[in-house]
Symmetry: C2
Subunit: 698 residues, 2 copies
């Protein structure tokens, strides 16, 4: 039986210090006087100190480890004697022999208070421990997962007071764990009677805290004490790839990560071609739904194998995705998302059973999908908002998540705006003459000597620059196969800085630039980055159509950001966050030289990595974050770029590449933007030429 709570808890002044020693907990600083003989766990509970326990103080689970401190603590006004706690006991020794216990640690349910004492609760003994994130500028994750384990002792049946075994379990959970109105499903009811008897009227249950005002729900039952944990999945369901993190729901630790290609790719590379596939083929949406769910199950099997756990221990999963993937995953025809007014079937968050999505994890596992922001701004953008929290920022933050569509958030504590902008696939290496996906062999970094106009580069899979010793050997296995999104950005920006490209986006001729690497390519020119044709290898060039494709993409991105800035009524932002895999690899300087992002001090441009995935992980580990992002999404002002005349206007203006004039004062203070003009028409040179030309066309 658990230790009886000491009911006679009183304030420090009202009790006799001789019989009621002072107990001070760190790091919380919570303190109180308790009768001699009070177990530390009981004192912690009564003071509301965050000290874990699964077995409820029965000396079974060892989750309530604490470290008493001895000596004088002037800060707390306490001197702690060596005998402030009762002596190390058999239960503690048994646990130490069996599982090991760090020296100095005690079990909070065994050690009882004898004198004034200072007790430290180490992080791993805290229920709501903090999961530290790598980036210093963001909040840690506070553990508050949807499911927890409870060990509980159940009253035996009595013919004279007939009540079901379930009802006695529910009563025990209420009495021993203060869990009210716990519900369960048939599956548990079918296992309950043997489990109770096998466990001699003690069981461990996994309880899901329930959605909204639902009852907490028993998801799993083990006879006796279950010395294990349960897991959750944070899944970023992208158009191209599906990435999953398997997390220990007790510690918050990521125990395995894995990814697969989205099997829907066979129905269309980009979202709109998948929407078309559904429109053109009866049952096409269901085919794609099946494909993505099957892929998901394959991924989950893979990640469980990797972590060497039973898939049935995965009791929760959080998904983030764009609206089309959201609908296809849920089995909703995305037809309406393919045409104005881009009506979502549902914009709210979704709390479902895994079985409703045919997911093969725990049979009662829950699934949570973050809310969508708008028809073009999905749950992935909401996850980015959760991870980067512009709504909690004093600074005015611009967050861009670059993919086939760019999701853009702009805001601070006062207000957050969101939009999506159709950047197209150029940033992912598609529609580029030598372009390819980011994979080994792809050029990812480029430098061009401003004097010699000679390039050097690095490929994915090697840390060597192409002009360094050993490069040829290092790339022998992968070869040099093409150029990926971050590579093309750097190449173009470097060309611009080396004076090989003018602000309108034209590449100069060999004559104009003085380098034979600028070669004629039809009616325009191209820059030769790598030529292995002599050895039968590829020739990698940056052509003028490549420049145009990137100009279109960056114009879409920039004009989305600019539109939000207009709506916000500001001209500059304090910080820029580049999210997404692509965002993690591009250089801030090169992005600014190209005019992808608004003018901003370079040290204020940071990469958030897979912020959408991080948002999913936050929502998985801390259920309070779910309500938080649901409320935030309600507050976000959604801007639909497709119907904003200013977006078109910005787009036309933004296709040019920045020049030495306004509106890029910060950029101009960092780099020298050559005032070249390669317009074959001749005299239309100088500032803003490209911009004016585009305007005439528009």
């Amino acid at each position: 039986m658990p230790n009886d709570p000491v009911t006679e808890i009183t304030s420090e002044t009202a009790t006799d210090p001789a019989t009621h020693p002072l107990v001070v907990f760190t790091p919380s600083g919570k303190r109180g006087r308790f009768p001699v003989g009070t177990p530390v766990l009981t004192a912690a509970r009564q003071l509301g100190v965050d000290l874990d326990s699964v077995c409820g103080g029965r000396g079974i689970c060892s989750k309530c480890q604490i470290t008493p401190s001895y000596g004088e603590f002037s800060k707390h006004g306490v001197t702690v004697d060596q005998d402030a706690l009762t002596e190390w006991n058999k239960v503690e020794q048994r646990y130490k022999d069996k599982r090991g216990l760090i020296d100095g640690r005690r079990l909070g349910c065994q050690a009882q208070v004898r004198g004034d004492v200072v007790i430290d609760v180490p992080p791993e003994s805290q229920v709501h421990r903090q999961v530290v994130r790598k980036r210093a500028e963001v909040r840690d994750i506070t553990m508050n997962p949807s499911a927890r384990l409870y060990y509980v002792e159940v009253e035996e049946p009595d013919m004279h007071k007939p009540s079901g075994d379930l009802e006695r379990l529910v009563t025990a959970l209420e009495e021993q764990w203060q869990l009210s109105n716990v519900a369960t499903d048939l599956r548990i009811l079918q296992q309950l009677q043997p489990a109770l008897r096998k466990g001699k009227w003690a069981v461990t249950v996994a309880v899901h805290q329930g959605h909204d005002d639902n009852h907490p729900q028993i998801m799993q039952i083990w006879p006796g004490y279950y010395d294990g944990t349960v897991y959750g999945l944070a899944v970023d369901l992208g158009s191209t790839t599906i990435a999953a993190h398997l997390c220990d729901l007790k510690t918050g630790e990521v125990v395995a990560s894995s990814g697969i290609m989205n099997p829907q790719i066979r129905f269309g590379e980009d979202l709109m071609s998948r929407v078309s596939y559904a429109m053109m083929n009866t049952g096409g949406d269901q085919e794609m739904t099946r494909a993505v769910r099957e892929g998901m199950n394959a991924l989950f099997a893979q990640i469980a194998d990797q972590a060497e756990i039973d898939r049935a221990l995965i009791v929760d999963a959080v998904f983030v995705c764009n609206p089309v993937m959201h609908h296809l995953f849920l089995g909703i025809d995305p037809f309406e998302l393919g045409q104005a007014p881009f009506a979502l079937a549902t914009s709210g968050s979704m709390s479902l059973r895994a079985t409703e999505l045919d997911l093969d994890i725990h049979p009662a596992a829950r699934v949570y999908l973050l809310p969508c922001i708008a028809g073009h701004v999905g749950a992935d953008a909401a996850a980015v908002a959760l991870s980067e929290a512009p709504d909690k920022s004093d600074d005015l933050m611009l967050v861009v998540d670059v993919g086939t569509n760019a999701e853009i958030l702009l805001g601070n504590k006062e207000k957050v705006l969101a939009c999506s902008s159709p950047t197209g696939p150029a940033f992912e290496g598609a529609q580029i003459s030598s372009g390819q996906r980011a994979a080994p062999g792809a050029i990812e970094r480029v430098e061009i000597d401003p004097v010699t106009k000679e390039p050097r580069f690095r490929i994915i899979g090697s840390d060597l620059w192409s002009n360094e010793d050993g490069f040829a050997a290092a790339v022998a296995t992968t070869g040099i196969t093409g150029i990926c999104g971050s590579g093309i950005i750097e190449a173009i920006a470097e060309m611009r800085l080396a004076g090989l490209l003018d602000a309108s986006g034209l590449i100069g001729s060999a004559e104009q630039t003085g380098t034979p690497r600028c070669i004629q390519d039809g009616r325009t020119n191209a820059y030769l980055l790598w030529d292995a044709s002599a050895d039968g290898g590829p020739t990698i060039t940056v052509t003028n159509p490549d420049i145009r494709a990137i100009q279109m993409a960056k114009a879409a991105l920039y004009s989305g950001a600019r539109l939000l800035m207009d709506k916000f009524g500001i001209d500059e932002v304090d910080r820029v966050i580049l999210a997404g895999a692509f965002g993690a690899h591009i250089s801030a300087k090169h992005a600014m030289v190209l005019g992808m992002i608004p003018d901003c001090p370079l040290d204020k441009v940071t990469s958030a990595g897979n912020a959408a995935g991080t948002g999913a992980r936050i929502a998985l580990l801390n259920t309070e974050a779910r309500a938080e992002i649901e409320a935030t999404v309600q507050q976000i002002d959604k801007i639909e770029t497709a119907v904003e005349p200013r977006f078109q206007e910005h787009f036309v203006n933004a296709s040019a590449i920045p020049n030495s004039a306004e509106p890029f004062p910060i950029l101009n203070s960092i780099v020298a933007l050559p005032d070249v003009n390669f317009n074959s028409g001749g005299n239309d040179s100088g500032e803003d030429g490209g911009r004016r030309r585009r305007r005439r066309r528009g």
Copy 2:
């Protein structure tokens, strides 16, 4: 759009009668003044008058039919002119032409108030209409089903205010129907967008009111206005038979009834043999679970066919059954119910999805099982309590539901006690030498002439007595095949009244009784009821072992009742209710002559028919009754006969048949109980002989 509510509702005194005529509703008597031009439906809603509407006042559904009364109403202090309401309008005429409308009826949403008026709301226009039960002494059922239809108009999507179609539907349900936080499942979400567009932004939804504190749930969606109803099932899942009533959830009407044999019979006739089957055969419980669910689906298909409705329109089902059937239906091994302490896996009510039980009705249909009272007293007994409501009775009621087990309830407003008593199958014709189930050809009524000792009888399937003209022809098709439970009761009671049987249960010899119908049968005697042996037909006798079997059964029943009376501290009851199919067929007088039930005035002994089935129907049609019976069951004192020494004592005493002495004063005032004694031992004659002899044996 619906008619705008008249916000300026004011008390009678505060408004000008000239501009605010008085509207009086009958039968509720609710009244108020409303501005000229207020639709009657609006006035009704504002006064809280129970006037139905599915379309919300748009002139589509015609559910809000009312009857204005004209003339002088001194009772209400109103004189109603012919022009008290606006004129009959086009919408009403269109409806009348299309569907017909009773003369004098108006549509409440079309007719507007012009002068003082008295408005009658006919029963079929009331949401919470009363479903009248046949028996005068019981309460009518107030309609309050779990699911209702709502017609709703939904806002179209707007790019500038992106929100999902579902969110706008939910908002519309809140605004137009005051339904808060409506939830739904993926299936509806998958159908939502096409339905809204096909219905031109109007749909009809079936909304389940939700269990406990869950959200109301959209179960079904139809584009535009759905001019139909939804259905529910009330199912009495017995050990032997499964009976179902299909009810219209709008009107409460039973539209079809049907029954099948419980397919589990092949695993064991009685409950304990099924429990044994599960114990002896691995997976045996699952086999029985599958069998009963398959049988259920066959029954539901049959009943839907019979009513000519689509099974998918069945959205709710209520089940009552004994504890073993309860567990087997839910897929719980009944092992624990086969041994003390008879622990139920769960005693509470169950709210499930039909899919969890593999039931093939509406895919989102809900299932409700009434709570069990104890390990031997099931949801069927709870249903009897709901139907017969001893807890609401001023009289002290004894309710016995006779089957293989008898469930017995005793109580009044103050207190209700319950127990179960193992009567065995004798009352169902089993263990009786010429016994059979109640089926055509079985003797069900018996009379024995006290002078001639000659019997006459009736069989199931004919209204003629065996000594009436035409009997032979009437029974030619069925034959006379045996004697059923009610027949054996009457036969034995009539034998007792005719002096052929003594109080100890011995049949006299031909010599002792003076009739050749008493024939020797081994060491005892038998009474010859029917002899067709000359024609090769059966010989139907009542043997002394038959008497013993019935004595055991009736002793169990009587001692259960007696035990509860002891616990209650009383010696007589005010009323006896015989429930169950068997209870419906036995004669009160004969039951009392046999000593099955305690002494009670004959006119206070009534049959309730299938009270368990009626309880299921009440819980189906009125969801408030579910909470009511759950609370009642909590209050019922459960008595476990198996561990009550007094039960054994009563049992021993009760095996004798009443004699002319105490304790049966009422019985003795009705009939003359002959003081015969056929004990071959000779002198142990007279009052209470059997009882004393049994005591010696005990």
